[in-house]
Symmetry: C2
Subunit: 204 residues, 2 copies
């Protein structure tokens, strides 16, 4: 009677990973509070109760999402740091490694949603800890001095904001938007625009 979903089962660890990736996208789009566990379940192709059973609570799922995002980000930084073959200066390599994370669409933006909830006792504490982990990495491992770190983080937060505000949406219609974005995404504007139009295709 009921239309059965495709019944290929996974091991729970593998399914968890899929759900984490789907949740990253959905949280990025609608924020922590604005995202329902049903939204995530739909995006991941499972039932809503299974999402909460795998992660306990929506809050825990969000914490796992931002934890994973930080792990991915720091791994990318480490990769750029260890890439000694390049003659590109370190600061620029790190900046490119950051902007490259926009390939996994929701990654930086889901972090941003956590950053803006600092007053929430548990999410806020996790967000601060994660942010400071990045700060310490840039200072201690990458060897930036505090002022360099600050400039790097500032540029990163502007990138996050431009993505969060979905500025590409107005790229074609407003020459000022174009001017600003060409300035804010060094060498990676084409990628950002391509991802945006790809996203638009998917939503049909």
């Amino acid at each position: 009677m009921t239309i059965s979903a495709p019944v290929t089962r996974m091991k729970s660890g593998e399914r968890r990973e899929l759900i984490l990736e789907a949740a990253t996208e959905v949280f990025a789009e609608t924020g922590y509070v604005g995202t329902t566990t049903a939204d995530i379940a739909r995006a991941a192709g499972v039932s809503q109760p299974y999402v909460v059973r795998l992660f306990g609570t929506k809050e825990q799922l969000f914490l796992d999402v931002i934890q994973r995002a930080l792990d991915v980000l720091l791994a990318a930084f480490r990769g750029a740091l260890d890439d000694a073959t390049s003659d590109v200066p370190l600061g620029k390599r790190m900046a490119l490694a950051y902007v490259n994370q926009l390939n996994q669409h929701g990654l930086l933006l889901s972090l941003m949603h956590a950053f803006v909830l600092g007053r929430d006792p548990v999410i806020g504490a996790a967000a601060r800890a994660g942010f400071m982990k990045v700060y310490r990495f840039l200072r201690d491992d990458a060897g930036f001095d505090p002022l360099e770190v600050q400039n790097f983080l500032a540029s990163g937060m502007l990138v996050n904001t431009m993505i969060g505000i979905d500025m590409v949406e107005d790229y074609d219609g407003d020459p000022d938007v174009r001017e600003l974005m060409e300035c804010a995404f060094p060498e990676k504007l084409d990628m950002v625009r391509a991802l945006a139009s790809q996203r638009e295709q998917e939503q049909r």
Copy 2:
């Protein structure tokens, strides 16, 4: 039978302004979706239905909040721009004008909550329009060239993030937090800290 609230009536315009100010604080703390009209009503000392009747919908109230925030911010910029008596360079005057807005606690943060909802069709459009209004002011009225504007905005977004993540919460417990914040809030760190502890007092 019921304990009557103090029955001094206001003209609706005046009450609207009070509610807008209260809503700015509450939206800043818990975000657009995470804030209920009842929360705002409580903060403003009126009933929940009256809030939605004065503004139509919660969405319209939020739009009015960020519109007002932008007006206040641009007025402050204009003030700093016109203050020709000072021998402080223009860039620094503008930066101080920005950080000074933290006096009205939720102002910059409520804007940040709008910036992060760019995919919402109506809030996103308003957020982009507001952001670009600031961009154009800095470029055309303040006379910054695009790169200066970009650096200015980047610093601003870092400030917003540090406030949103509530970094002051860990100021005393983590020397790295202290180092970062001293770097990020030029000359205004004392003010930020004072406001935070004042806020903590209020919540008892």
